[in-house]
Amino acid sequence: MDLSAINPVLLLASLMVAATPILLAAIGELVVERAGVLNLGVEGMMITGAVCGFVVAVNSGSPTLGFLAAAAGGAALSLTFGFLTQYLLSNQVATGLGLTLFGLGLSALIGQGYIGIKAPEVPDLHIPLLADIPVIGPILFQHDPMVYVGLLIVAAVWAFLKYSRAGLILRAVGENHDAAHALGYKVIRIRMLAIMFGGGCAGLGGAYLSLVRVPQWTEGMTAGAGWIALAIVVFASWKPWRIVIGAYLFGGVTVLQLNLQAAGLPVPVEYLSMSPYVATILVLVLLSSGRAPGSLGRIFHASS
């Protein structure tokens, strides 16, 4: 066993990369849940984004267009969810699960002819000044753009929720949709916008997997990442910056597990693999301090 073979800086770097897809999906879902909607279809939206991004990137040769298409694809799929839950008042849990199934099937169908094809490369970003810091510079500040975009989105969401009027209204809708409606706010419209944002972010997260991380398209390639994103939102007590911690925790445990294996640690692989999930449960139990938005998951029907 040779633990010195594990380089902590490299570990941190690959941690950032591993965390990005779930970070993106989780921050989107956070906005949706703060608006009072529980969308369990994150997995379906992520994988739809993955395939849309891949198809567009391969056909156009531009990964940027791919990412944009992924966001659009995720948002479009989330519209189905939005329409069913907000206008047709369907049960959010069931609709979310249906969205997952639908998304998995749709993406597999769209991706039929694209299995095994190479995606156009996403070049690494070289942040001036910061990337020149010896040792840690090239490791932490020379990732592909999406890593930094993810962090920027988290910052933007935090500022939006905390400091803007629109963010306040969104939170109000999430806490008590009847009161918000009585005050004259368009609950359904706000929720639809939030749902679309969540879909777009989930799409970006999925596209990160298919365009940067792997980078290939395979059926079902998200492999449960959407569910982990949902767990991270609760883990983070619906606060944006804690999402980053949660995503890094998860991304980190997966990367650590492989590193320990390669270094020869004789812990059974399966127990290492289940550690992120056990960790989430522990954190969910211990961190019961966070309160869920008051009307999370409840159906809104204006009676006037």
Binding site: G116, P215, M221
Partner: protein
């Protein structure tokens, strides 16, 4: 009447009828795939072989396939459906299809089954496998010669004898040309999962490996190696030539075509019997992908010479003296391993660090 007797009666009638019509009806060959045809690896090569059968026999043969069939009761249903719809020969291309194949074969004694990588046979079930360890020997020689960090990463799928054979064979031949080389082995517990394979490859590269060998089927490790730069890889199951000349410097190609064509011919001629086939480079079942120019000429020559020696039978990758990892002697000087030990191989050879997961 029981289900079994109905089936028996129907199939006997069917067999009599088909016997009477014989060569006029095209022979129907079915293929059950465990993954998608586009996986670029294991299933892709089986489908290539299927297309070779179609190309070779033309109208005399009709093929049908179902992809991504989960192992278990679904596999049994798919095989039964193929048999009911008139298949004469069915290839089941995954170890996990073993019990379903035996079960369905018992119900359709006039349909012939070919099961890949299994060990159970029946009167109408044949098994076939490829001596991948021969290809691994060539890979090990190349890997040991071109590595500069002396660390070779190995992405294992499941700790089964076939994979252990590959690891041992590669290691022995890497050590032969480079006594300082060491292996780092990571178990992915999957045959095909690009995300996991990419992560495994990245981790190995971060821990210093500059050559990656894999027993998993996707091209993800090649992509990870390409992104890292200066890392060599080998294609697995398919040539993966689009990643050549770097990082992919060679590959093991599963070439099932000749075997499939031969077996279909046997069905047409009426000479088919249940056999146990384990072919390698000599018979063409294991192909060595073209060695790229990133490999020095003398290494390339040595590798090709070894492949030729294995092919003509003058060299066996497991030739003594070889000691097991626990220190006990396995093969004496010049002694060659028997097939039985290889088929049940559950030990590493001396020099490999780490234990086989239990």
């Amino acid at each position: 009447m029981t289900l079994k007797s109905i089936l028996l009666g129907a199939s006997i009638l069917g067999a009599l009828a088909s016997g009477a019509i014989a060569q006029d009806d095209p022979v129907k060959v079915g293929f059950v795939y465990v993954g998608p045809v586009g996986d670029g690896g294991w299933t892709y090569e089986h489908d290539q072989a299927r297309q070779a059968v179609v190309a070779h026999f033309g109208d005399a043969v009709e093929t049908v396939f179902v992809e991504s069939v989960p192992e278990g009761p679904d596999a049994e249903r798919v095989m039964t459906q193929m048999a009911l719809e008139g298949a004469d020969l069915i290839f089941t291309t995954s170890f996990g299809y073993m019990d379903p194949t035996i079960n369905v074969a018992a119900q359709f004694p006039d349909v012939r089954f070919e099961h890949a990588t299994g060990y159970k046979t029946a009167e109408n079930v044949a098994i076939y496998n490829a001596r991948f360890y021969e290809g691994r020997a060539v890979q090990g020689l190349i890997a040991g010669s071109i590595t500069e960090s002396n660390i070779i990463g190995y992405i294992g799928s499941f700790p089964i004898p076939e994979v252990i054979q590959g690891i041992n064979s590669a290691f022995l031949h890497a050590r032969q040309v480079n006594p300082d080389v060491e292996f780092k082995i990571v178990w992915a517990y999957t045959w095909f999962d690009p995300a996991k394979e990419a992560e495994a490859a990245t981790v190995l590269i971060e821990q210093g490996a500059d050559v990656i060998l894999q027993h998993t089927d996707s091209t993800a490790p090649q992509a990870a190696a390409q992104a890292a730069g200066n890392v060599y890889t080998f294609g697995q199951a398919s040539d993966m030539a689009e990643f050549g000349p770097m990082p992919r410097v060679s590959s093991i190609i599963d070439n099932w075509g000749p075997y499939y064509i031969a077996r279909t011919q046997a069905v047409i001629d009426g000479t088919w019997t249940s056999t146990d086939t384990w072919d390698g480079i000599a018979e063409g079942m294991v192909g060595i992908g073209a060695i790229s120019d990133a490999v020095p000429a003398e290494v390339k020559a040595a590798a090709e010479a070894m492949a030729a020696a294995i092919a003509d039978g003058s060299y066996h990758p497991f030739t003594g003296p070889i000691t097991k990892q626990d220190g006990s002697a396995w093969l004496a000087e010049g002694e060659v391993s028997d097939d039985g030990t290889l088929l049940g191989m559950n030990f590493y050879v001396e020099g490999i660090v780490g234990d086989i997961p239990q």
